[in-house]
Subunit: 264 residues, 2 copies
């Protein structure tokens, strides 16, 4: 879905032009000379200067008195801090996964790391609901599910080891979700998940159900959510470069960006 | 010192007018309806709307699709995160205390919490240098100095207790800096420091030298720096409402604001 811009009839061009300077400062991540900054924003220095004077007057930018370089100012910081305080990963992810579920026509599951491991907090249903017993509050296997594999691949090792040890002591979990061969190749699987940024299961642990899972990171570069697309294997394109994999990954990256993830 | 605004000859009025909307969103700390937001920025809704359309187009603001309320957008968050990454409390404080030292004509000392306790990292000298053995790297008494009292009053209790216990075992420190009566009234002193946001010593531990110290907090509401104004008791106005106390406090508040402190 492409978002259409707000109705263009009444806009303030100076805001949109001037913002190019702020965007260049964010991309560059450190103060720049007028010449460098103007160039990065596709302007001449003489065009950029009055914008910077006005951004400076409100604290969106500031000029270093020694070097003369322009950087983001104290008011930019205040805006970011207000955003940080309002940050709610689940609330932020819900509209994104609702739209993803409609686009790929598969069920989309949102999971967080709960006290008992990977825990479903939200289900975005499509027109093709899957008939599995999955609902908010469900705890998922670390070994057997794509969701669990993403948590296993990206959470701190200690946390993963503890959860895995507990899971391997739980006979019900074992019978339901894992096989000896799965356990043996577990490390290789996690290495692949880290490399691809995506986990996949096909017809296992639940016959006939496939899934992709992708990680969502926050501004501290920590895993905060796992988004999973899942459906009946017959209608689920499980190729690594298929539309489901790509759309899911784009969705997880959008949410990560919104949470301030700086990327790798 | 009042900073003069950038030369007004060439500015972009739309930036400065529109920023009033961003400032209202920062003050309010949560999304607002168009009517409420416009009012908070002293505009009519019809004047505010085109600004918000343009801020929205660049991600500085966004509109909640359900409530229709306007809030800060993902680009505001990115700007704040870049500021957070660039944050350097000492670098930020140095120009402020240099200017403070000139204004109050007293020595101004910047201290951080080091591995051995309150540690001087910078000295801003005035035209009236004091003749005490204080230089970057000096560790100051927790009990006997105004700097130490501010750390004692605002750091986590565990940290303070450990440092204080160590100090009380150190005979040299004890002989130099503390008296039995000082120790006895220590808790009362710290309560006063917390209440005033300012610590004061007069002619003690060093006869003839007085000092005020003020805390600097960061965006996590943690104490990160202590700024101390100190001088010969004869030329040092040590009244709680005198110019030195007021200027010092204003300086510490300015640095705190720049570090994202939300205030109390």
């Amino acid at each position: 879905m492409v978002l259409s811009p707000p109705k263009a009839s009444r806009r303030i061009q100076a805001i949109e032009v001037g913002s190019q300077l702020l965007m260049a400062l964010v991309r560059h991540r450190q103060p720049m000379s007028l010449t460098t900054l103007a160039k990065a924003a596709n302007m001449t220095p003489s065009k950029a200067h009055p914008y910077l004077a006005s951004f400076g007057a409100v604290g969106l930018t500031e000029q270093d008195p020694v070097s003369g370089n322009y950087g983001l100012g104290p008011f930019s910081f205040q805006m970011g801090l207000v955003c940080l305080q309002q940050q709610n990963p689940i609330k932020l992810a819900i509209p994104e996964i609702t739209s993803l579920a409609a686009r790929i026509e598969q069920t989309v599951v949102l999971a967080v790391w709960g006290t008992h491991g990977p825990t479903v907090v939200y289900l975005g249903d499509s027109n093709r609901p899957i008939h599995v017993n999955l609902r908010p509050g469900s705890v998922m296997s670390m070994l057997g599910t794509a969701t669990g594999q993403v948590f296993s691949a990206f959470l701190p090792v200690k946390l993963v080891e503890t959860a895995l040890a507990r899971e391997l002591k739980d006979e019900a979990v074992l019978a339901q979700n894992t096989s000896k061969s799965a356990l043996q190749q577990h490390e290789a699987t996690l290495a692949e998940v880290r490399q691809r940024g995506l986990a996949r299961v096909e017809g296992f642990p639940i016959p006939g159900i496939s899934a992709f899972s992708a990680p969502v990171f926050d501004n501290k570069q920590s895993l905060v959510l796992v988004i999973t697309a899942t459906g009946s294997s017959g209608s689920f394109d499980s190729s690594w470069n298929g539309p489901i994999a790509r759309e899911l990954q784009a969705c997880a990256q959008t949410v990560s960006y919104r949470l301030g993830y700086a990327g790798k």
